[in-house]
Symmetry: C2
Subunit: 164 residues, 2 copies
C-alpha cells in the first residue's frame, strides 16, 4: 500500500506510464489529422480520399489490390472513394503491362498538386515537433512506432515505408 501511495510500486508506475502513452497517441493522432481534414473540406473530400491520394502518390502505379491491403478496407469501400477521385481528375488508371487485368493507379498533375498541398501542412507540423524534440527523440519515436505495427506484417509495412 505504501508502495502504491509513494509511487514506487513498479507495476503501478508501469501501468500509469502506459496509460499516459496511450492517451498521448490518441491526442497526437487527433491533431495530426486535423490539418489535412481542413484542406480536404474545400474539395468535399474526406480522410478516406486523403489516404488514397497519399498512398497512390507515394506508390505510383500501385494496383488496386495492393492499395486494399494497405488500407485494410473492402473494395466496395475503396471504389466509392477511388471513383470520385478518378471522375474528378485527381487519380488516373492505366492497364497493367504484364497483366492487363490490373488497374495501375497514378496521381494526375492536379492530384499531385493536392497531394503536395496536404502533405506540406502535415510535414510542417511534424517537422516542428521533430525540431523541438531533437534528433535522438525522433529516432526513439520511430523505433516505438515501428514496434506498434502488427508483427505479422511489420516487415512488409516497413519495407513499403522505407523503400526507394
Amino acid at each position: 500500500m505504501a508502495d502504491v501511495k509513494s509511487g514506487t510500486n513498479p507495476l503501478f508506475l508501469r501501468e500509469e506510464e502506459l496509460r499516459q502513452s496511450i492517451e498521448l497517441l490518441f491526442f497526437a493522432y487527433r491533431d495530426f489529422t486535423d490539418g489535412p481534414d481542413q484542406i480536404l473540406k474545400d474539395y468535399n473530400f474526406g480522410r478516406a480520399h486523403h489516404r488514397v491520394i497519399h498512398f497512390v502518390g507515394r506508390n505510383p502505379g500501385i494496383t488496386v489490390s495492393e492499395l486494399l491491403e494497405i488500407l485494410r478496407i473492402t473494395k466496395q469501400s475503396l471504389s466509392r472513394v477511388l471513383n470520385a477521385l478518378v471522375e474528378r481528375g485527381f487519380v488516373e488508371q492505366k492497364a497493367g503491362v504484364s497483366d492487363r487485368r490490373q488497374r495501375l493507379l497514378y496521381l494526375t498533375d492536379e492530384g499531385k498538386v493536392l497531394e503536395r498541398k496536404i502533405s506540406h501542412v502535415q510535414q510542417q507540423q511534424v517537422a516542428k515537433a521533430f525540431r523541438e524534440a531533437g534528433g535522438e527523440a525522433v529516432a526513439g519515436y520511430r523505433k516505438v512506432l515501428e514496434g506498434l505495427i502488427n508483427e505479422a506484417d511489420r516487415d512488409k509495412a516497413l519495407s513499403r515505408i522505407m523503400k526507394k
Copy 2:
C-alpha cells in the same frame, strides 16, 4: 542533381524522412486500434464507445461538457454513444453536487471490467513495443507526440494526461 541522387540534399532527405514518419504514424495507429476493436465487437460497441469508456475511466466524475471538449465531437454524437453505455449499464450518471445541472459520469463495476479488459490488450501491445525499443526511445516517442498535439491546447491536454 547529384545531390538528389546521392541522397545528400538535406531538403530532400528531410522531406523523405518526414514522409516516412507520417506513414509510420498511420500504420502504428491502424494497428494500435485493432486490439480494442476486436473486443468491442463482442459487445456490439465501436471505437466511439471505447473512447467514452476510456476517458470516463480515467476521469471519474467527468462532466459531459468536459468529455465533449476532449473528444471534439458534438453533444448529439456523444449522446447516442453515451446513452447506449448508460442503458446497458457500463456508465452511470450522478447529478453534480455544487452544480446540479451537471451529470457526472462514472464507470459502473461492469464498465470497469470492460475498461480493464480493453486497456489490458492495448497496454500489452504498447509495453512490448516499449520493451523492444528501450527507455530512451520511449522518452523520445513521448516527446515527439507531445509536440504533435495542437499548441493551442497542448498544456491543457498534457495536464489532463499527466495529472494525478
